[in-house]
Amino acid sequence: MREIIFAAALFLAAIAQVTVAPLFPIQGAVPDFVLVTLITFATWAGPRTAMVSLPIVAVFLGFAGNREPGLLILAYLPLLPLGLFIDEANLPFSRFVQVLLTAAGTGLWARLVMSAGAFIGGAEVSLSGLLFLVLVPGLFLDILLVTFAYLPFRLMGKQARPMTLQRGTFSG
């Protein structure tokens, strides 16, 4: 049952990315619902769930938006290694800030990879456009959306999970 709910959420996230997100742009950037969904899964359901979810949602989004699923996998790939790195760096920040840092880093990487894909595909290269229309507003949107997604779980009293893979346990 849990797996069906997760699969449905991934399906809806991919569809929302190509229907709802373009309706609410800031500058040129649009909200990244797929990233928010993956961060939410990794934080509250555990890294194993995110590991399985990433390729599935990449394929869904690739099909819905006619994008390269392979490129989308590479775009969201740093999520778990970066989350683990931030976990283990013993930074003097709360868990919430650590999740925001993970989202910000992965979001920047994802937008860079997708823009690079567009440039390689023939789009005119514009570094100022990349910085001011994609990365900066994208960063703002990612932090805003992850905050909105994080707070309800905290208000329900849930504890965010670490990104560490634990041997012999099932967190998904």
Binding site: V18, P69, S115, E124
Partner: protein, 275 residues
């Protein structure tokens, strides 16, 4: 790199899967799966669109209230001018017909076949602007066909077709390039999409004025000649400049388009599409 060693097998598997999916996409293995997915997704896409588009319109209209009032006033004036122009053109057309009859000129068949379709998704980023529609190869749509708004202005080109769906690259996509000309002066140039869904009229070697209407020139064979594309909103540059910087605004608000017409009677002569 302890971090990567813990996730190394997973990262390696994902890179392998990414390469496999890219290769599979290139040879078309994913096509049937994509079609199945789109069939399942279309009702959900329509539902999302029905719920969120009015919200977005409301926010947008609230934001643009003052400019909309001014635009409305301008449009009324323009509408009046156009009504007069239509009357003139109708008279001209009747006269041309009479002359053609008198000269026994056989008019070529200019009828256009179009397929109407609903927009089901709009995938947009600062460098890409792609929509999908609920018609595909089963309806006679082929890659490269021109896509028009319901008012008849160019909005893009079909880039990929599945049996029941098609993907359209809009003119605001930064990969889009359309050979075009100024309608009244025939000054030629290229309408190019730029970052953040902007469009420009490049390489125009003569004077272009604000308000000029740009239409397809038909050069290159990818677009039918004479389709209206956009209106000039800004011209920058001095007479010494070889090319002025000409900014355009599409004749239709592309973000709110819900119905499009695919021009099935025009099959491009040359295709240089990359997907």
């Amino acid at each position: 790199m302890v971090i990567f060693s813990r996730y190394s097998w997973w990262v390696a598997a994902m890179i392998g899967l990414a390469l496999f999916l890219t290769a599979a996409g290139q040879v078309g293995i994913l096509g049937p799966f994509q079609n199945l997915f789109l069939q399942a997704a279309t009702p959900v896409e329509k539902a999302f669109d029905g719920i969120f588009r009015p919200v977005a319109s409301l926010l947008s209209d609230f934001d643009d209230l003052r400019s909309l009032q001014e635009e409305n006033r301008q449009l009324r004036l323009e509408n009046e001018k156009l009504q007069n122009r239509v009357t003139e053109l109708e008279l001209d057309a009747a006269r041309v017909q009479e002359l053609e009859k008198a000269l026994e000129i056989t008019q070529s068949d200019t009828s256009q076949q179009k397929v109407a379709a609903n927009v089901v998704s709009h995938d947009s980023s600062p460098f890409t602007d792609v929509i999908s529609i609920d018609r595909g190869s089963n309806d006679g749509i082929q890659p490269g066909m021109n896509v028009l708004s319901s008012q008849g202005s160019l909005i893009g080109t079909v880039t990929k077709v599945t049996p029941d769906h098609s993907f359209i690259r809009l003119i605001t996509d930064s990969k889009s390039k359309v050979n075009a000309q100024v309608r009244d002066t025939q000054v030629e140039g290229i309408v190019k999409g730029g970052p953040n869904r902007t469009i420009t009229f490049d390489l125009a070697q003569a004077e272009v004025k604000v308000g000029d209407v740009i239409v397809t020139s038909g050069l290159g064979g990818n677009y039918q000649a004479g389709i209206p594309i956009a209106r000039v909103t800004e011209v920058k540059g001095t007479p010494q400049d070889l090319f002025a910087e000409v900014k355009l605004e599409p004749l239709v608000r592309l973000s709110t388009v819900q119905t499009v017409l695919v021009l099935t009677s025009f099959v491009p002569q040359r295709l240089d599409l990359d997907d």
